[in-house]
């Protein structure tokens, strides 16, 4: 399993890929950061919220994370290297986990780049640490869930561009599913509203951003990750059976 993890990391870090991703992410974050600062008025207490920034950052996820995950399985299939992995003494489950961990590592690298903004703030002022840490935990889990989702979509196809586009659509839909559930039309049907709400990550994240770590929210993200990874595993195995 470790060799696959290492190989995935090499493909991210030996190429400009991971750095470009991290840079783009920082750039987008700094955009939110500078608007945050620009909004400061001349009152005695200058305050802005990092957690609010994270909300806009999540929107950028939709564009960045599918690009991160699109190649995971699609490229293996395109290069014919899936055969190599499948005929090596490594089980499919471990291949999925190794690739997931590699994607998570790049994602952590991207998140680490954004730590610079709270640091700058801390030098000139004060940062509410508890809230910030909770927000980071929340955003980490949300991203991890999207990575698992992106991997699943990548396992469906052998064209990485298609994987990215479908990933963007699905993630976009998932991001706004709670807003959709709150529309007057859906609100007429409480059952549907409740059902849609079960998939909504945003209300869960809002607890994190306010500084709460609730077990139910953690369970939501973790179970979503596990379900998506198992689904990925099933899709890969199923494709082997249906190949022809």
């Amino acid at each position: 399993m470790f060799p696959i993890y290492k190989k995935e990391l090499q493909s991210f870090f030996y190429t400009p890929f991971a750095y470009a991703m991290a840079m783009l992410f920082m750039l987008l974050f700094s955009l939110s950061f500078s608007t945050g600062i620009a909004k400061l008025d001349n009152s005695h207490t200058w305050a802005f919220s990092f957690t609010e920034m994270f909300y806009s950052v999540i929107l950028y996820f939709i564009f960045l994370l599918p690009i991160l995950t699109m190649r995971t399985f699609a490229d293996e299939r395109k290069n014919g290297t899936e055969v190599l992995l499948m005929t090596s003494p490594v089980s499919t489950g471990r291949i999925v986990i190794a690739k997931f961990l590699a994607n998570i590592t790049v994602y952590l690298f991207m998140l680490a780049g954004t730590v610079i903004f709270p640091i700058i703030t801390a030098i000139k002022g004060e940062v509410v640490m508890s809230q910030l840490i909770c927000a980071y935990i929340g955003i980490f889990f949300w991203g991890a869930m999207y990575i698992a989702l992106g991997m699943l979509i990548s396992a469906f196809t052998e064209n990485s561009i298609i994987a990215a586009i479908i990933g963007e659509v699905v993630m976009f839909a998932l991001l706004f599913v709670d807003d959709f559930a709150n529309t007057p039309f859906i609100s007429q049907y409480p059952a549907i509203k409740k059902f849609l709400y079960a998939f909504a990550a945003q209300p869960r994240f809002s607890y994190f951003s306010e500084g709460f770590i609730r077990l139910s929210d953690l369970t939501f993200f973790l179970s979503a990750i596990i379900v998506l990874l198992i689904w990925t595993y099933i899709v890969i195995e199923k494709r082997r059976w249906n190949r022809g």
Binding site: F2, S11, N79, T81, P89, I97
Partner: protein, 380 residues
């Protein structure tokens, strides 16, 4: 569950070197040193690609897998290597069933698929060290192992190059090097010489021959001369059916039984015919053509050693004053054996006759029934 899996993996990662040794020592028991393939069948939807094939690969043997394009060679190899699941049947590698104990089975296996499984954005040595890790080569041995396979395939000069920049021949050799990593007992090579230049083809053939010392090799090709140059035994396959399993000599011999002698003489037709018929080793005269001016050409069926029969026919004719204008034997070579086997419809009797290796009589007849059924369906 995720966490559990993780732990198991780490554990395995630490134990891997010892396990590797233990495993390979353990599995070198005399009786298991082979791959057995029993009733292997593959359907793609309702389309049957491989039909109940059975054979074994013995220790230190090069087995040629010969058939035209689309015969089911790659499908069979993918199934043996555990990439494609089979619709029916069983593959056992060193006693480990590929579907039931895949990890154990795959440790003894090196596989070079039809398209070399290389990552275009990796350098050759990076790729090989990745594969060495994947195949659980102990960390301490990896460097020497990679050097060894690079030496064998003569790819040391490109080891720092990106695979995407390599020519097809080099890519093929990098893929081949990957299959040799970890010194697996069995090698499955799917058309390893495709895309190589003649010089490289000769090198690769030599390499495959030299591998025989420590490995057993299954080697597929649609090029006959290649198979006859390298392999000990040949499995001839077409449209998913095995047409023959035998050594090359036996295949040739079995078809040289029906040797044909062509002789053109000048002189008395009846006299010549009686002389020829009297000669030992002549079965019968099948045709006599009158070509005018007292020239007759005989087509004669021979049995036994064709060369000596030809010589004695010639000697008898000359002794009796019949002048020979032309004499030659029509010897079916492997090429025609191959073509005949491929084109022969897989009839029940033919299969019985050919598949000495298939012990299961009931399986044999089932197979033919199956075939009839599918043929009917196709007709519909």
């Amino acid at each position: 569950m995720l966490f559990c899996d993780n732990k198991a993996v780490c554990y395995d990662g630490i134990k891997a070197p010892c396990f590797y040794f233990f495993n390979s020592d353990f599995s070198i028991g005399k009786e298991h040193l082979m791959i057995t393939i029993e009733n292997l069948t593959k359907y793609y939807g309702s389309n049957r690609a491989v039909n109940h094939i059975s054979f074994t690969i013995n220790d230190n043997e090069i087995l040629g897998f010969l058939g035209p394009n689309g015969a089911g060679k790659s499908t069979t190899m993918n199934m043996i290597a555990g990439y494609l699941p089979m619709s029916d049947g069983k593959v056992t590698i060193n006693g480990a069933d590929v579907t039931k104990e895949p990890l154990k089975a795959k440790r003894n296996l090196g596989y070079l698929p039809e398209i070399p499984p290389v990552y275009p954005d990796m350098k050759v040595h990076e790729y090989l060290s990745f594969c060495a890790g994947l195949k659980k080569v102990p960390v301490g041995k990896r460097k020497s192992e990679i050097d060894r396979v690079m030496g064998l395939l003569k790819i040391k000069d490109v080891k720092g190059k990106l695979i995407r920049n390599l020519s097809k021949g080099y890519k093929q050799r990098v893929g081949f090097a990957q299959a040799l990593l970890g010194d697996p007992k069995f090698l499955i090579l799917d058309e390893p010489t495709v895309g190589l230049d003649p010089n490289q083809v000769a090198e690769v053939r030599e390499l495959i021959k030299s591998l025989k010392k420590d490995h057993s090799v299954i080697f597929s090709s649609h090029i006959l001369s290649e198979v006859s140059a390298v392999c000990d035994r040949v499995v001839i396959i077409n449209k998913g059916d095995i047409r023959a399993i035998d050594t090359i000599e036996n295949l040739e011999k079995s078809f040289t039984v029906s040797l044909v002698l062509h002789i053109k003489i000048k002189g008395s037709k009846g006299k010549a015919a009686s002389i020829i018929e009297m000669t030992k080793g002549v079965r019968e005269i099948t045709a006599v053509d009158d070509e005018g001016d007292g020239v007759y050409s005989f087509t004669v069926q021979l049995e036994g050693d064709s060369d000596s029969v030809r010589d004695s026919v010639m000697a008898e004719c000359l002794k009796n004053g019949i002048s020979i204008i032309e004499i030659y034997t029509d010897r079916p070579n492997l090429e025609s054996v191959f073509i005949e086997l491929i084109n022969r419809p897989a009839k029940k009797d033919g299969l019985r006759e050919l598949l000495d290796e298939m012990p299961d009589e009931s399986g044999d007849s089932d197979e033919t029934e199956d075939e009839d059924e599918t043929e009917e369906k196709e007709d519909e």
